[in-house]
Symmetry: C2
Subunit: 71 residues, 2 copies
């Protein structure tokens, strides 16, 4: 079974956060979300809508597809 | 502004349906959804969740990312 998109999203957000040397608290604050919410995204548990992925990508300053396609 | 993911999804589903020489009614029936619902997806109006994109891809027999990344 191919990897669920939300798992790919979680891994990509985590990699991006670490590359920017941010803690979950730090990135959550930047995004204006709770640390708990961000942790859920990174664990691949949050079933975001496509619009939410677009918004998250815009906030992170990356292409939306880069969040849901493994490099 | 990069193209919203749901617009990309709509175009990819439409291309795939046409490649398979199916009408919207025909594909909707295969998927077990209403033609109205499928038409909304193809117009890029339906804000699907990542799990729904995974399920749609599985039903179509394609990789989920192929539905949300423009060829």
């Amino acid at each position: 079974m191919t990897e669920p998109l939300k798992k790919v999203l979680g891994a990509q957000v985590r990699d991006l956060r670490r590359a920017r040397r941010l803690s979950q608290e730090g990135l959550a604050e930047e995004l204006g979300v709770s640390t708990r919410y961000l942790a859920g995204i990174e664990r691949g548990e949050r079933n975001l809508t496509l619009d939410s992925v677009d918004a998250l990508a815009e906030q992170l300053g990356v292409e939306a597809r880069s969040l849901i396609v493994r490099r």
